[in-house]
């Protein structure tokens, strides 16, 4: 349990540290150190859980099993690599005079605050606290989205705040309904919001209430996942905030929201004895997947384009989790991992690309491979990976999801394939001139730290070629937990 | 037979005491505004003076113009005859329920508006059109408020409704609170009080009711004025006796009747003070704000009905 406390306390401490010394030049290094310590604690936690099985903290406040511990580790890892990237990136932004000292303090403090909120959401056993932490994650990031104080940034942040706030309010109502149903069967009302208690008593919960509750929970957490038609905040928030923010929003926050939704689905499935929750998730997931793929074609802003790609992939994962079954769930878990690794790598390169061109407009970013080959190649490989080319891990997970679909819902396979093709075309149509085109005069090389990108893409490649045994074991434990059957 | 006799007596009491209520309201208002107040029976003096005076008829006045005061007065008395004043058990209530009551008042309004247009002066037509607009908006509110009540009491018969509230004892009904507020706002609009209309004004831009009856004189004017006073009292008695029926006589003893008279007197006096308080704090609103005012009243009545369905019976 010490590992758990450390995982939570280090970012909590980081909030204060960031607020105190965030404006200093070495603050970026402090941020890296803090996230590195968190990663160490998270890995220690992962090791304990894998070694000894699910753990319930004293007081039943936290519950760690294979499903969330792998997300904790992933979150801590991406948090660290993004912190490495953010150090140079933010220094560059300060040099360009887009940010002052106070905002750097705010940035570093809230970076840690955001990490804390996500760890709290992932590890908590109380579905009420889960809600509080999700809302906390919104509150921590909303001022970061408006960090540049341009009218666009303010608009994006306002939209983000209002839409996510209203959306997540629905989730709270769903939680209230869940509590309402639970209170009737669970003797101690203080236990009635604990996930493990709810899960154990799921079959006794009143199905009508849980159906209603799940609809509200889906709308609520679905807003945060970015499901169409509740996705409007997502591209704005990604495109107007600082790029490290986009990387962790896309790579981590969406995952955590989806995690919350899946946890809820596990309870609801136990009560309903029908596949209703799964159908709903499949419907919303498929819709998001297809619509976002189409929107990819119309984008003019590079970060906006990749945020639509995030919506598309989140849609695919939601669809896969909705599909249920061991294979699809395994695929979805793998896809969560590879997507957040790839997408944060892409946002890191996109951040550098935008600094090279001095703009985020796709039309003005040209010939990256000539100006700075590392960034150009990074962007190209990242896009290839995210589009689902073998041998990258995204291909593996998409292949698993497709196979599972073909098994249980064959007629849904063509739309999935078409959606993948549309998204692929949308990405590459914009990508090609950006990477290969003529570099306009006056493009400057920037100090880019490509280590995070390299690490992430290497991981994705590794996962595509061979999933290491301990990881496969880990995933199959989580799959067993979620879908009830083992994939291997 | 006795019941009917008592009913007629009660109606007579209603008609006769309406100017007294008007006098009371005027007095309170004067006190509120630090003016020298007229005597309580000043409205009786005014009516008597007008009744003695000769009628001056416009050249183009048709029979509508001449018949209207009598129709309005008659319809208003009939409306008054339906409302339980002192005795809860009113035989006329079985014949004519609350919807008929609304109908009588609408009939009176219709003829007043016709008469306003009959002469062909600009003011009359203007007043009529304004009055009809207010009426069209106020009537649904009134009906909605009344339906809320009848849904709770399962009757549109006013006597039975009063009996129902009496038997239930003190029950905090959210629907009644809203219906009461809605009905009060309608009463203000329908009887031409501030902020919708000002009974004391002859300023051309703002008058509504006064504009329609501008051409009346002598006994015609007396009847119309009297009818207006009865109408005000009908609304106030309705509010007082339906929502707070305590004190109303349920049996036919002198003691109960005396108590009933005292109770309704006290309630009306109190309501009069409330009305004046309201008139003092409110400013006359521009005519095109009136739909908003009545829209809010409608909302209150609607909310009354909704809370009845949702909170009081649901589940």
């Amino acid at each position: 349990m010490t590992a758990l406390w450390l995982t939570l306390l280090i970012p909590l401490l980081g909030i204060a540290v960031g607020a105190l010394i965030g404006q200093r030049r070495h603050a970026g290094w402090v941020n890296v150190a803090l996230t590195a310590a968190t990663l160490a604690a998270a890995l220690w936690l992962a090791y304990t859980v894998l070694d000894r099985g699910p753990q319930l903290s004293p007081g039943k406040m936290f519950y760690i099993d294979a499903f969330n511990v792998y997300l904790v580790a992933l979150t801590a890892f991406v948090g660290l690599t993004t912190a490495i990237f953010s150090r140079t990136y933010m220094l560059h932004e300060v040099e360009r005079r887009r940010l002052g000292k106070r905002r750097m303090r705010l940035y570093h403090s809230m970076y840690q605050g955001f990490m804390f909120a996500m760890f709290a959401a992932l590890t908590t056993n109380n579905v009420g606290i889960l809600w509080v932490a999700m809302e906390g994650a919104t509150l921590a990031t909303v001022l970061l989205v408006s960090l540049y104080r341009t009218p666009e940034a303010i608009e994006a942040a306002w939209k983000y705040f209002i839409l996510c706030g209203v959306g997540i309010a629905q989730a709270l109502f769903g939680t209230v309904l869940l509590y309402f149903a639970a209170e009737r069967v669970i003797p101690n009302p203080d236990d009635a919001l604990l996930w493990n208690v709810l899960y154990a008593a799921a079959s006794q919960l009143e199905p009508t209430v849980l159906t209603l509750a799940f609809v509200f929970l889906l709308v609520g957490y679905g807003t945060k996942v970015g499901l169409v038609p509740l996705h409007n905040w997502l591209p704005d928030a990604h495109s107007e905030g600082p790029t490290p923010m986009s990387a962790i929003l896309s790579g981590l926050l969406l995952n955590v929201a989806l995690y919350a939704l899946v946890r809820m689905k596990m309870i609801v499935d136990g009560s309903l004895h029908s596949h209703l929750a799964g159908y709903l998730m499949m419907g919303f997931g498929m819709l998001s997947f297809l619509v976002a793929g189409l929107f990819l074609h119309r984008q003019r802003d590079i970060k906006r384009m990749f945020s639509y790609s995030s919506i598309e992939h989140m849609g695919l994962m939601t669809f896969a989790f909705g599909l249920g079954g061991a294979l699809a769930t395994f695929g979805a878990l793998l896809h969560m991992t590879v997507h957040s690794l790839t997408k944060s790598a892409i946002f890191v390169t996109v951040g550098h690309a935008a600094q090279i061109a001095g703009t985020q407009s796709i039309e003005k970013i040209r010939g990256l491979i000539r100006t700075q080959p590392a960034v150009g190649w990074g962007l190209l490989i990242g896009a290839v990976a995210i589009a689902g080319f073998p041998p990258f891990g995204v291909f593996t997970s998409e292949f698993l999801v497709l196979t599972a679909t073909m098994k249980s819902w064959p007629w849904l396979t063509p739309p999935l394939l078409v959606g993948l093709a549309i998204a692929f075309a949308g990405l590459f149509r914009h990508l090609h001139p950006m990477v290969y085109g003529e570099a306009p005069a006056g493009q400057q090389r920037v100090t880019a730290n490509m280590l995070p990108v390299l690490l992430h893409l290497a991981f994705v490649l590794w996962l595509g070629l061979a999933i290491p045994a301990f990881l496969a074991d880990w995933f199959s434990q989580a799959t067993k937990l979620i879908s009830g059957s083992s994939p291997l | 037979m006795t019941a009917w006799l008592l009913g007629v007596l009660q109606t007579l009491l209603f008609v006769v005491s309406a100017p007294l209520l008007a006098g009371w309201i005027k007095r309170v208002k004067c006190h509120m505004q630090n003016r020298a107040a007229p005597a309580l029976w000043q409205p009786y003096r005014d009516l008597a003076k007008l009744l003695r005076k000769r009628v001056v008829l416009a050249e183009h006045a048709s029979w509508v113009f001449r018949a209207t005061p009598f129709i309005v007065f008659g319809a208003t008395i009939l409306a008054a005859a339906v409302v339980p004043l002192v005795l809860a058990q009113h035989p006329a209530a079985a014949v004519a329920d609350v919807i008929v009551l609304v109908g009588f008042l609408a009939l009176a309004r219709f003829f007043t508006a016709l008469a306003g247009m009959d002469i062909g002066t600009a003011f009359g037509g203007m007043g009529s059109s304004r009055e009809m607009m207010i009426g069209a908006l106020a009537e649904p509110v009134m009906l909605m408020a009344v339906f809320t009540l009848s849904m709770t009491a399962s009757t549109t018969n006013l006597s039975e409704a009063v009996g129902y509230t009496l038997n239930g004892g003190l029950v905090l009904r959210p629907s009644f609170v809203f219906a009461l507020l809605g009905l009060m706002m309608v009463a203000v609009a329908e009887t031409g009080r501030i902020p919708v209309d000002n009974p004391a004004t002859h300023l051309e831009l703002t008058m509504v009711h006064e504009a329609m009856i501008l051409e009346y004189s002598g006994r015609h004017l007396a009847l119309i004025e009297w009818a207006a006073q009865i109408k005000l009292m009908v609304y106030m008695v309705l509010i007082a006796n339906i929502f707070l029926p305590w004190g109303i006589a349920t049996e036919l003893t002198a003691q109960a009747a005396a108590l009933g008279v005292t109770a309704i007197g006290a309630k009306l006096a109190l309501l009069g003070v409330l009305l004046i308080l309201w008139e003092t704090v409110m400013a006359k609103m521009r005519l095109f704000r009136v739909p908003q005012f009545l829209g809010f009243a409608f909302l209150l009545s609607l909310l009354g009905m909704l809370t009845h369905v949702v909170l009081e019976t649901g589940g």
């Binding site: 109380n126 009420g128 606290i129 809600w131 509080v132 809302e135 906390g136 509150l139 909303v142 408006s146 104080r149 341009t150 009218p151 666009e152 303010i154 608009e155 942040a157 306002w158 939209k159 705040f161 209002i162 706030g165 209203v166 709270l172 109502f173 209230v176 309904l177 509590y179 309402f180 009737r184 009302p189 203080d190 009635a192 919001l193 009508t208 209430v209 591209p235 495109s239 929107f295 003019r300 407009s361 040209r366 306009p440 | 029950v171 009904r173 959210p174 609170v177 809203f178 739909p291 829209g295 609607l302 909310l303 909704l306 809370t307 949702v310 909170l311 009081e312 019976t313 649901g314 589940g315």
Partner: protein
Amino acid sequence: MDLTQLGLFDQAVLLFAAFVLFTSFVMLAQARIVPLIHTFAWQGALLAVTTALVAYATRHPHLYLSAGITLILKAALIPWLLHRLTVRLGIQREVEALAYPTLVLIAGGALVIFSYYVALPIVQLSAMVTRNTIAAGIAIVLLGMLLMIVRKKAISQVIGFMSIENGLFFAAVVSTYGMPMVVELGIAFDVLVAAVLFGVFFFQMRASIDSLDVDRLNRLREVDEPAPAPEETAP
């Protein structure tokens, strides 16, 4: 359920629930900023009274604490914050032009009916005296959303947001006699932080677009803007 068979305090709970619902409607109709904030404060106060009544009528003493938190937070602190903001931003005399006021109120009525149908399955399961007010809780949430949709001023939207929170709290109190304390404290903390953040936002918004009109925030759109004139490409 027959109202006449309930105790006086249970009836009072229903009555105050109706008043809380009523304040939501008043907020929909209120165009001036400061009275809007006051109405919001009244809603908070009535909510606290309702909670205290539920606590008394059903003997759930822990709800007194919730009522106290609500009173301090929703009836005093947040309205005070908002009021101070309007004074500091100099907008306390602003009046918002309401589009279709009557239609909005009718829509509000329709939302109440809708909430009634949504709540029916839950109400039928429950045996609590407060069960009928669950629909009122949902209605307050939906009316808050309606307020956010029809209003253009940022401050009105914030009040809509906060009144959604009120509705959720209300629903939790009347359907389950409140959430566990730790969750309630967490929610209260979130709401407070959100209120402060909104305040920060008003200033940012004013500084960048010189207005608190949300309609002015319209730069980010999905429609294809006319492409900027092609720039000279390097030879």
